[in-house]
C-alpha cells in the first residue's frame, strides 16, 4: 500500500520540477544573479492561482578562513550537510576576507547569501551571515559549539530533508531581531522543491533567543517505528525528539547594511570581545606578584620606622 502511494507522489513532483526549470534557464547570466529582488519576483510559466509565483532560489556559499580549528571546521561541515542548497568553497585567506574579495567570490559562485566562518587565534570563531549583492550582513561570535560527531547526540535524519524552523516569540521584539530572523529563515531554510531536497520532514531547527544570544539546536522527529503509518491517528502524543546536533550559540556583534561591510545598522551594546576578557584575566593574575612585592616593601618600611627596643637580657649569658 504505502509503496504504491509513494511512487505516485514522486512521479507527481518530478514533471513539475522540469517544466519549472526549463524556461528560467535563459535568464541566468554569466555573473549569477543580478538582483535578489528580481530573482524572487520572476514570473513563472507554471499555471497556478496567483500570477506572480514565488520561487525561492536561495544559494548559500559556505566558507571559512585559513587556520581554522578542527572543531570549528567540523561545525562548518555539519552545517554544510544540513543545508542541501549550499555550496562549500575553499578556505579564504583571512586578511583578504575584508569585503570585496568575498563578495566577488560569492558572485562567481552564483550564490545569493553566504556563511563565512572566521577563526581568530585558533580559538575564537566569528560567523558572518550575509545576503550577497546588497546586504545586510551580520557578524556573530560563536559560543558553546558542539558538533554532530559528539556521541551524546544520538539522533539522525535524512540528508536534505527540509527542516521545520521554530523561532521563539521574542524574535518579534526588536527590529534587529526581526531582521536576523528573516535572514536566518532565508539562509537556513531549504528551498521548496530544491533538487537535492527530499520530500519528507523529519527534523526541526530551534532558534531561540536566551540572554540576548541566538541558540541553535537541531532535533530529529521520531515516532515509534511501527506506528509511523498510523501517525494520522494517535502518533502525535507519542512524538518525541532526539537531538542530532550541531549546537551553537550566536552572539550578534554588528549588523551592516552592505554585504561584508557598509554602514553599521546595529551594534551590540553589551558585547565584550574575548580578547578583552582574556586580557583582563591576565591582568588579574599579573597583579598578584606586584601585590606581593608591595607588601614586602611596606613591611620593611614599617620595621625601619618602628625599630625594636634593645633587649635588656641580650648579654645576660656573656659574663
Amino acid at each position: 500500500m504505502g509503496k504504491k502511494r509513494k511512487h505516485s507522489e514522486t512521479q507527481a513532483i518530478e514533471p513539475k520540477k522540469k517544466d519549472e526549470g526549463a524556461p528560467e534557464r535563459p535568464k541566468r547570466t554569466l555573473m549569477g544573479w543580478k538582483d535578489k529582488k528580481e530573482v524572487h519576483k520572476q514570473p513563472d510559466s507554471n499555471p497556478e492561482s496567483n500570477p506572480q509565483v514565488f520561487r525561492n532560489k536561495e544559494k548559500v556559499m559556505v566558507t571559512c578562513s585559513r587556520r581554522i580549528n578542527y572543531r570549528y571546521r567540523h561545525l562548518m561541515l555539519n552545517l554544510v550537510s544540513l543545508l542541501p542548497h549550499c555550496k562549500k568553497d575553499n578556505k579564504v585567506e583571512s586578511k583578504s576576507s575584508k569585503g570585496s574579495t568575498l563578495n566577488e567570490l560569492i558572485e562567481l559562485r552564483g550564490c545569493s547569501s553566504a556563511l563565512f566562518f572566521e577563526c581568530r587565534k585558533n580559538r575564537d570563531l566569528y560567523m558572518w551571515m550575509a545576503s550577497c549583492p546588497n546586504g545586510p550582513s551580520v557578524k556573530f561570535l560563536v559560543n558553546a559549539v558542539h558538533t554532530m560527531e559528539e556521541l551524546k547526540l544520538t539522533g539522525n535524519h535524512l540528508k536534505g530533508s527540509r527542516p521545520l524552523m521554530t523561532f521563539s516569540s521574542n524574535f518579534e521584539k526588536d527590529a534587529h531581531w526581526k531582521l536576523l530572523k528573516e535572514m536566518i529563515m532565508q539562509i537556513f531554510g531549504t528551498p521548496k522543491e530544491h533538487r537535492k531536497s527530499k520530500p519528507y520532514h523529519d527534523h526541526v531547527f530551534v532558534f531561540s533567543i536566551v540572554d540576548d544570544h541566538i541558540w541553535f539546536r537541531n532535533y530529529q522527529i521520531s515516532v515509534p517505528h511501527n506506528e509511523s503509518e498510523k501517525m494520522v491517528r494517535g502518533g502525535l502524543d507519542k512524538m518525541t525528539l532526539v537531538e542530532v546536533g550541531p549546537r551553537f550559540c550566536l552572539n550578534p556583534i554588528k549588523i551592516f547594511a552592505g554585504s561584508f561591510g557598509g554602514p553599521t545598522l546595529y551594534e551590540n551594546p553589551f558585547y565584550v570581545s574575548p580578547n578583552q576578557i582574556r586580557a583582563l584575566e591576565k591582568r588579574k593574575k599579573a597583579g598578584k606578584y606586584a601585590k606581593k612585592v608591595k607588601a614586602k616593601t611596606r613591611r620593611k618600611m614599617h620595621e625601619q620606622s618602628n625599630p625594636l627596643e634593645p633587649d635588656e637580657f641580650a648579654d645576660m649569658w656573656k659574663e
Partner: protein, 301 residues
C-alpha cells in the same frame, strides 16, 4: 565560566575606545599569543550596562528587512517557519532548564507543523521503508549505539556490584546469628550436664545408668557425631576428609606425584631413626668422596 560580571566593571572605560570589531585584536595581540589553552572558549561575559556609543539605526534595520523579506503572500510551505511562545524566562546557566525550553519549543513547533501538514494533506514524516542518505553515516551511528550499550552495561555492572555487596553484608549477619545460636546451644548443653551431675550426686549415685535416659542424653543428641563427617574417612583424620577434598579433579596429578615421593622417601613414622648413623653408613665413604672431588674441580679452575 571563568569570570563574573562584576570583575569587568573597570573594563568599561577602555571598552569604548576599542569598540570597533575590526580593530579589536590589535591592542592585546602580542601578549596573548602565549597564553595557556586552559581558559574555556565559551566564556560568556557581558557588560554591566549598555555602552552609550553603540549604534542602533532602527529605520535602517526596518528598511533592510523590507528589502530582503519575501513577498507577503508567500505560501507557508516555502518558509516552514513557526513561532513558538517562550513560556517563561529561561536561566542561561541552568543547562537542564535551558535545554528543556529548547526541546519544548521544538516539540510544540512540530505539533503545529504536523497539524498544518495534515490539513494540507501533505506527507510529513518519512515512511519506514524510505531509505536514503542520512546526515550521519551508518558507521557513526554504530559508534553511537556502541556507546549507549557500553553505558548501559556499565550501569548494570554497577548494579550487580552493589547487589553483591549487599548480599555479602546479609550473609555476614546470618553467619553471626548462627554462631550466636551455636554458642547458646553449647552453653545450654553444659548447663544440662551440670544439672544432671548434681541430681545424681543428690540421689547418691543410686539409680545408675537408668537416670541417663531421663535427661535427654538418651536421645543421643548431644553425643551424636556430627552428621557432617563423611563416610570412608580414616579415624585419625581430623579434618573429616575435607582436607583433600578442596583440590578436586585438578589435584589428581599432584596426588600421584605425592604417592610416588612417599614411596621413594617414605612418609610418616619417626624421623630420628632414619637420621642416626648405623654401622653401614659409617663405613660408607662414597658420599664423602663425592663432595671432595667436586671441590677439587672447582679449585683447579
Amino acid at each position: 565560566m571563568g569570570l563574573r560580571i562584576k570583575d569587568l566593571s573597570f573594563l568599561q572605560p577602555e571598552n569604548a575606545a576599542d569598540d570597533d570589531v575590526d580593530d579589536e585584536m590589535d591592542p592585546h595581540s602580542e601578549e596573548e599569543e602565549s597564553e595557556s589553552e586552559s581558559e574555556s572558549e565559551q566564556e560568556d561575559v557581558k557588560l554591566m550596562e549598555p555602552s552609550k556609543t553603540a549604534v542602533y539605526n532602527q529605520e535602517g534595520l526596518v528598511e533592510k528587512l523590507e528589502d530582503i523579506s519575501w513577498p507577503e503572500n508567500v505560501d507557508w510551505m516555502h518558509k516552514l517557519s513557526l513561532d513558538v511562545d517562550q513560556v517563561k524566562e529561561v536561566d542561561v546557566n541552568d543547562d537542564l532548564a535551558r535545554e528543556l525550553a529548547f526541546y519544548t519549543q521544538a516539540l510544540e513547533g512540530t505539533r503545529l507543523a504536523f497539524d498544518k501538514f495534515q490539513s494540507m494533506g501533505l506527507p510529513f514524516l518519512r515512511p519506514p521503508d524510505y531509505y536514503a542518505e542520512m546526515v550521519k553515516t551508518d558507521a557513526h551511528m554504530q559508534k553511537v549505539k556502541g556507546k549507549l550499550l557500553a553505558q548501559k552495561r556499565q550501569i548494570e555492572e554497577a548494579e550487580e556490584r552493589r547487589k553483591a555487596r549487599e548480599a555479602k553484608r546479609i550473609a555476614k549477619e546470618v553467619q553471626a546469628e548462627k554462631l550466636k545460636e551455636r554458642a547458646k546451644q553449647k552453653k545450654q548443653e553444659i548447663e544440662e550436664v551440670k544439672k544432671w551431675r548434681k541430681q545424681r550426686q543428690q540421689s547418691g549415685f543410686k539409680d545408675g545408668k537408668d537416670s541417663m535416659k531421663d535427661l535427654g542424653f538418651g536421645e543421643g543428641k548431644a553425643f551424636e557425631r556430627s552428621s557432617k563427617k563423611r563416610p570412608g574417612v580414616s579415624p585419625g583424620d581430623r579434618s573429616g576428609g575435607k582436607a583433600k577434598q578442596g583440590g578436586g579433579k585438578g589435584n589428581n596429578k599432584n596426588k600421584k606425584n605425592r604417592e610416588f615421593r612417599d614411596s621413594k622417601f617414605g612418609f610418616g613414622g619417626r624421623k630420628g631413626m632414619k637420621k642416626q648413623n648405623t654401622a653401614e653408613t659409617t663405613n660408607d665413604f662414597r658420599t664423602l668422596n663425592k663432595g671432595s672431588v667436586a671441590g677439587n674441580k672447582k679449585r683447579k679452575r
